[in-house]
């Protein structure tokens, strides 16, 4: 389907000649998901009416205590210094951002009155600025009003190098933040920017409490440990690495929210016992990120106290092929990123390897609800999901591909060509799930005459950034490796960077380049460069799908499953968690259904 056809249809919808529903149905017939279709419509200014969140409680409070259990406790509560999801989630009890991503990866307003779009004039036609109208009547916990000055202050605070704020990255590319009036701010970009939403999810801190502590004095701010935000809960107590407590904010800006009278976030321990405390004993209401085998979770759920829920997210588990020769060495650099892998550069071998992965068994016997079979590198949000790649497992076809490629079986059943045996080293981190997948893959490869040697590396080493260690995934001194690529934000920009040629992992970037397989494709690079400036969401989605297809058709990576985040919820807890943002970003909308 050509882009022009799409545009024509969109115009018809606009002119009411084509019903929304018909458009969605036609697109579905073409293999385009509903989510992508509605994103197209939204991009064309044809969004459906905002579905009101089904929030049932009719008054504020009265829900008792909400008890959250994280197996990592927040170590600090200033969102600008957060070093991981645990800190951002802890801060979310008290702080809020302009907008947040909901479970379907749509941006919804929190401290903003509305999300900027082309229609409401929030997004400039040249893509160089976005204008945010702030919600009226929002107050900080100490009673001071929330204004445009606060938004601007967060930008100056985070971008001051002396502050050393981690949130600096979210403000990349922003030239200035200007005040239009007390309730309107404009973010100005130095170039046309399609991913303007990056600043929307930054949690905002109050100017009047942090102004005196910007820059090098940032560590002395008393409010670092005693947050004063706009959020649904007021700060009560914080013990770093252990516990955060909050009580209801009776002057919260959204009606009938929050439902709970107090909230408590306990950290520490391990995922399995966290699952037990929620699903089996009901001591806690919410267990964060239960990375536990599905079988174990099911057994715990049998006691009926709680349930494990999978939330869509952008993480995908992949097998990555090394395009450089791990044995090559040039200028003391091993592997030499410019070299070519003697076996994997052969298209026939890559085709065979892709055909030999039995994804269905992997999901059925290993991942369960925690993994969904996919042949695509880019899976979520659904609007970026390519319909063009098929999942196929066939030992026969793999054998045929290898035969055609000139790989002959030797006496020991292992194929060889030009005196080189078809033996590959397959490494991953030590983790019972990954070792099982390695086992399944080894078996099916053996059937096609490929011998896999399996290697497991302790996670702390495998994922470390230690330059001197040869066993890291950045160094990749093996032929194949398996790990999960994290796509945290709904926009796939940072995700797609994992395969651009200038990110190739090498000695020069201390083996920290994101492109660890050192795959290089001019077409891919060009598509990525174009996506950086493409303002039209439909064209941009098409570019993303194009990039995915390039990667998957060339088998630079072999995707296995995409991995939703699994949280444990008490039986009657309603928690609209987003896998695209911090898991507690919608905590104001959580409630307990009366039994």
């Amino acid at each position: 389907m050509q882009e022009n056809d799409l545009r024509g249809m969109l115009e018809e919808v606009r002119a009411c000649r084509l019903a929304r529903r018909t458009f969605i149905e036609r697109m579905a017939g073409l293999g385009v998901g509903v989510a992508m279709t509605s994103a197209m419509l939204a991009g064309a200014g044809l969004a459906r009416a905002q579905p009101a969140a089904p929030y049932k409680p009719t008054r504020r409070g009265g829900g008792g205590a909400l008890k959250l259990l994280f197996w990592q406790g927040p170590t600090l509560l200033n969102p600008h210094f957060a070093t991981g999801a645990k800190d951002l989630d802890g801060a979310h009890l008290f702080y809020e951002s302009l907008g947040r991503y909901d479970a379907d990866a749509n941006l919804v307003p929190v401290l903003a009155a509305e999300i900027p779009s082309r229609d409401n004039g929030g997004i400039a036609a040249d893509g160089r600025s976005t204008t945010w109208k702030l919600k009226k009547g929002v107050k900080w916990h100490d009673g001071r009003p929330f204004t445009a000055d606060d938004v601007i202050f967060n930008w100056t605070y985070a971008t001051d190098p002396a502050t050393a704020a981690v949130s600096l990255a979210n403000y990349e590319g922003i030239k200035a933040v200007t005040k239009i009036d007390a309730e309107t701010v404009r973010f100005e970009f130095s170039k046309p920017t399609p991913i303007w939403a990056r600043t929307a999810t930054v949690q905002l801190i109050p100017k009047h409490l942090f102004e005196a502590f910007a820059g090098a004095r940032s560590r002395d701010a008393p409010a670092n440990l005693k947050p004063v935000g706009t959020g649904p809960y007021r700060f009560v107590d914080f013990k770093p690495g252990d516990l955060v407590r909050g009580e209801i904010n009776t002057s919260y800006h959204a009606p009938n929210r929050p439902h709970f009278d107090s909230v408590e976030l306990k950290g520490g321990g391990d995922a399995t016992s966290a699952a037990r405390a929620v699903l089996q004993t009901g001591e806690y209401d919410f267990g964060w990120n239960l990375q536990v085998e599905d079988e174990v979770l099911k057994r715990m759920e049998a006691s009926g106290k709680g349930r494990a829920v999978a939330y869509a997210s952008g993480n995908v588990e992949i097998i990555q092929l090394n395009m450089a020769d791990p044995a090559s060495e040039a200028d003391g650099e091993r592997p030499n990123p410019k070299s070519r892998h003697p076996i994997l550069s052969d298209r026939a071998v890559r085709d065979a390897l892709a055909l030999l992965l039995d994804r269905k068994s992997v999901q059925e016997f290993i991942y369960g609800r925690a993994g969904v079979v996919t042949p695509n590198f880019l899976n979520n949000p659904a609007r970026f999901n390519s319909p063009n790649i098929k999942d196929e497992f066939s030992v026969d076809k793999a054998n045929a591909a290898l035969d055609a490629g000139g790989w002959k079986r030797g006496a020991d059943g292992v194929r060889e060509k030009d005196g080189r045996k078809l033996k590959l080293l397959f490494q991953t981190s030590i983790n019972s799930v990954r070792q099982k997948v390695q086992g399944i893959y080894k078996q099916s490869c053996a059937k096609a005459g490929i011998e896999l040697e399996l290697k497991g590396v302790t996670a702390a080493v495998f994922f470390s950034s230690d330059v001197a260690n040869p066993d890291t995934y950045g160094r990749f001194l093996a032929d194949l490796q398996m790990y999960a690529v994290a796509g945290r934000l709904p926009d796939p920009d940072s995700f797609m960077q994992w395969l651009v040629s200038w990110q190739a992992s090498s000695k020069a970037n201390k083996w920290l380049g994101l492109n660890r397989g050192r795959w290089a494709s001019d077409e891919y690079d060009a598509a990525y460069r174009a996506s950086e400036f493409e303002l039209d969401p439909v064209k941009r989605a098409a570019l993303m799908i194009r990039m995915n297809d390039l990667v998957c058709n060339d088998h630079a990576v072999i995707p296995i499953v995409y991995r939703p985040t699994v949280h444990g919820l008490a039986r009657n807890l309603v928690a609209p968690v987003s896998g695209w943002d911090d898991s507690l970003n919608g905590i104001a909308d959580w409630y307990r259904e009366s039994a």
Binding site: P161, A162, A164, K266, A277, T281
Partner: protein, 319 residues
């Protein structure tokens, strides 16, 4: 006595200095970087990590960092946690009450079991009581805490649903309810630690008392017609306690150090879990401070043990 104390304290100073040099060098040589997590995050530009390194002085040579640490320490500044961005002493002080309460209670439980059981076992060796006590002691110190901990959770939390297994340092209730909840949640960890410690101490007390009870002066005391009770308590136990005191005094620093595994199982926010978290996140100032506190405590309790010897056995004099 006063002289002796002063001398011992003066000797302690160079040892502490030596310990701090060793600790600091080892930590400085150890691989890892507190900001490595950040370096891996593609959303964080490298300048941020570089800035943080500069701000915390991580790029200076080791000896400069050591002296900076030493002078700060002398002025009572324990350092600044990279990860939590607060002062280390606040972090440690926040963990002390829970550690003292839980681990202290378990040590008291251990002593309450070990002393009477050990003494009675030794007074009537190879009796039924002794055999049963020995069997239980053997089982007690053979079972690791991660096993007994999980076993107790399985029985008392999951099957019976009597006790909570997530420890909360911050209970919002007041009055009797506060006490009730705290005692309920402390029962399992205190039992796990107390039984392990009590079992091994029972064996020590028993063998120490056995050594003494066969000596001639005990026979003399008995032939004088003293009651058995008086013989055991006044003559035997007092002498037998000397090795036990050494043992107990040397395990006391552990009370402050917490019990890393048990704290992890029950999610007790003690110093042990602070240390393990700091190690996992390469938070060097915290590791340094906690290990240094341990070193001080070991030296202090050695001194206390030496002083206790003199009280227990006046023949030992301080010169």
């Amino acid at each position: 006595m006063g002289n002796y104390l002063l001398r011992r304290l003066l000797i302690a100073l160079p040892s502490l200095l030596g310990i701090s040099v060793v600790l600091f060098t080892v930590l400085a040589l150890a691989p890892g970087d507190p900001f490595s997590e950040m370096v891996q995050n593609p959303n964080v530009p490298p300048e941020v990590a570089a800035n943080l390194r500069k701000q915390f002085g991580l790029d200076d040579p080791v000896w400069q960092r050591y002296f900076r640490w030493l002078f700060a320490m002398l002025q009572g500044d324990w350092g600044f946690s990279f990860i939590s961005r607060i002062d280390v002493d606040k972090l440690i002080l926040g963990r002390v009450p829970v550690t003292l309460a839980v681990i202290g209670a378990s040590q008291i439980l251990a002593l309450l079991i070990a002393l009477p059981v050990g003494v009675i076992s030794a007074a009537r060796p190879y009796s039924w009581f002794d055999r049963i006590a020995s069997t239980f002691a053997l089982i007690g110190f053979s079972l690791p805490t991660f096993f007994t901990g999980l076993l107790l959770i399985l029985v008392f939390s999951i099957k019976l649903d009597w006790l909570p297994f997530v420890f909360r340092a911050d209970i919002s209730a007041t009055g009797w309810e506060w006490w009730r909840q705290n005692i309920l949640q402390a029962i399992m960890p205190v039992t796990v630690l107390g039984l392990l410690q009590g079992a091994s101490w029972t064996r020590y007390v028993r063998s120490a008392v056995l050594d003494v009870i066969r000596l001639d002066y005990v026979t003399t005391a008995r032939s004088k017609g003293l009651k058995e009770r008086a013989v055991i308590l006044k003559h035997v136990v007092r002498n037998a306690l000397i090795p036990v005191v050494t043992l107990v005094a040397l395990t006391m620093p552990l009370v402050f150090g917490g019990a890393i595994i048990t704290e992890q199982i029950f999610r007790i926010p003690g110093i042990g879990s602070l240390l393990i978290d700091a190690i996992l996140r390469n938070d060097t100032p915290v590791i340094m401070a906690v290990t240094f506190v341990f070193a001080c405590l070991v030296i202090l309790f050695n001194l206390i043990a030496d002083l206790l010897y003199g009280w227990l056995d006046p023949r030992i004099s301080y010169r």
